[in-house]
């Protein structure tokens, strides 16, 4: 694994309001074709890291580069146009738009590819094809997550940033999400995935990061993090224990 780094976030410091830093110097890199997983307790700043990478919050320090291009402070639509897509943790589909309209919005930057990409998404997610004219707000949780990923894949990105794609889903749907992520990655898309199903996600990961208090706590190859006794103790609910229980539902992100 010595592929070139695609996404490099270096020493990020920032938050939502002046003088309150949620991110306190965290760092993340993803190389071409990798699956990189970020885990950490609730409130660690994982979603904030994703938003910072995507230009949704203003950074006080640090840089983000995509294939060597400095995208620190770029507008989100500019980041998308440079080949990275993002699936937020909450509110990740347009509920009042139909499935097809959601995909069309996903494809606004690549209008010439619209038909081709739409067909590709319908074959990657056949269930969305059946629900083309249905409003996204009426989909099941699993279908909605599929639509959110499909919407993000419409511009044919080379990097996909996913924030807890399996949160709140039924066990079968969780399995489907992980299978789909593996499939997307196999097609050559670099994946950065924040997850709370830490065991499953790390098992899939080339590399993993453990974030806590807005800082990197551990990092390393996915499987080795899984077997690291300290990580297991702190974040995997103890060696051999089951997955972390579902956190209670929260408002906002």
């Amino acid at each position: 694994m010595s592929a070139a780094p695609v996404l490099v976030a270096q020493g990020l410091v920032g938050g939502y309001v002046p003088e309150v830093d949620i991110l306190r110097g965290c760092t993340l890199t993803a190389s071409d074709g990798e699956v990189v997983v970020v885990i950490g307790p609730n409130g660690a700043g994982k979603s904030t890291l994703a938003k910072a990478i995507f230009g949704l919050i203003t950074l006080r320090e640090g840089t983000v580069t995509l294939r060597g291009d400095d995208i620190t402070g770029a507008a989100p639509h500019q980041v998308t146009s440079k080949g990275m897509s993002y699936v937020p943790q909450v509110a990740n589909v347009f509920g009042s738009l139909t499935v097809q309209e959601n995909l069309e919005i996903g494809g606004v930057l690549r209008r010439n590819l619209m038909r081709e990409r739409m067909d590709a998404m319908m074959s990657l997610f056949p269930r969305l094809g059946e629900r083309r004219r249905q409003r996204a707000g009426t989909l099941s949780g699993g279908e909605r997550q599929m639509l959110a990923m499909a919407r993000a894949l419409m511009p044919d990105p080379s990097v996909l940033l996913l924030d807890e794609p399996s949160a709140g889903l039924a066990p079968r749907a969780v399995g489907e999400v992980f299978d789909t992520v593996a499939e997307i990655n196999a097609a050559g898309v670099t994946i950065v995935m924040i997850e709370q199903n830490a065991r499953r996600a790390l098992a899939l990961a080339d590399r993993g990061y453990v974030l806590e208090g807005g800082q990197n706590r551990f990092e390393g190859p996915g499987p080795s993090l899984l077997t690291d006794p300290q990580v297991a103790e702190l974040y995997l609910g103890g060696a051999g224990a089951g997955e972390r229980p579902e956190p209670p539902p929260r408002v906002g992100s």
Binding site: T80, S96, E101, E104, I105, G106
Partner: protein, 291 residues
């Protein structure tokens, strides 16, 4: 039956005017979280621009319509660039934006008063020409103008929102601004288009209101309450809902005059509103927020 048809024609006329006003108000709220109290005065301004062109300058009504559309759309864009965008960038909340819009409403109204005085004006249309298709059913020339113009424009707007990428982007922004932004939508541009749409529809509504009744500096302000009701009735932020809400409200108000005093018809609008909200708190077309 004839009374029903006559009140329906009246209801469609005022409902069409509400609908034209409500679409823009609803889209602007949905997208920018701005409860624009100046929207009524946008309408009034449209009426006076038409008055200036049609009466003061003696040009045809069609030219007056177009002038009103252009001037009010331009005002919408200018205010976005000069006030709303900088306010949002500074993190202004819903309350600050709302209060600012009330202030703006008074400024526009007083400028109108200053320019055109408070006298009651009307446009150069034949108020009395009417047809009698059958029985006692009467439809006036001005009702034909209002219903046909509004009908064509409303259908056009509905098609635009439904089938063009700009229309879909507007609905996407109204649904979730950030998600539209990360999807690659150029939100700044779509916001400007939204002001063009909201402004020109408000301008048109103002001219039609002036055609249908008369024009004073308070015309739009008085219509605004019913238009807010139409917006809420249709589901706040939902443009199709605002369209339907406006027409339903206009019809309900006029139908009510068959059984009660016409002076109460505005109150009837609010009774309808309350009844609908009791059954569907999210409005006719609104969806319960699930995320």
């Amino acid at each position: 039956m004839e009374e029903f048809l006559n009140t329906s024609i009246n209801g469609l006329s005022s409902g069409a005017i509400y609908a034209l006003g409500a679409i823009g108000l609803s889209l602007v709220y949905g997208i920018l979280k701005l409860v624009n109290f100046a929207h009524g005065d946008f309408m009034t301004l449209g009426g006076y621009v038409a008055f200036a062109v049609n009466v003061s300058a003696g040009m045809p009504l069609v030219v007056a319509f177009l002038a009103a559309l252009v001037v009010v759309a331009a005002l919408g864009v200018a205010l976005e660039v000069a006030i709303w965008r900088p306010m949002r960038r500074k993190g202004a909340g819903v309350m600050q934006l709302l209060l600012l819009s009330i202030g703006l409403a008074f400024v526009i109204r007083n400028l109108i008063l200053f320019q055109w005085s408070g006298a009651t004006r009307s446009l150069d249309v034949d108020q009395f020409q009417a047809w009698n298709p059958f029985g006692d059913v009467v439809i006036t020339r001005i009702q034909v103008i209002v219903i046909v113009t509004a009908g064509v424009v409303l259908v056009g707007v509905a098609v635009m929102l439904r089938s063009t990428l700009i229309g879909k982007s507007m609905r996407a922004l109204s649904d979730s601004f950030d998600l539209a932004e990360v999807s690659g939508v150029n939100t700044r541009r779509i916001v400007l288009y939204t002001w063009v749409l909201a402004g020109s529809l408000a301008g048109l509504a103002g001219v039609l209101a002036a055609v249908y009744t008369t024009l004073t500096p308070n015309t739009g302000w008085f219509l605004l309450l019913s238009i807010f009701a139409a917006v809420v009735l249709g589901g706040i932020g939902n443009a199709y809902g605002a369209l339907v809400g406006g027409i339903v409200l206009g019809l309900a108000q006029e139908w009510s005059t068959m059984v009660i005093q016409p002076t109460y018809k505005e109150a009837v609008g609010f009774v309808v509103l309350i009844l609908v909200l009791l059954v569907r708190p999210q409005g006719i077309f609104g969806q319960a927020r699930t995320l």
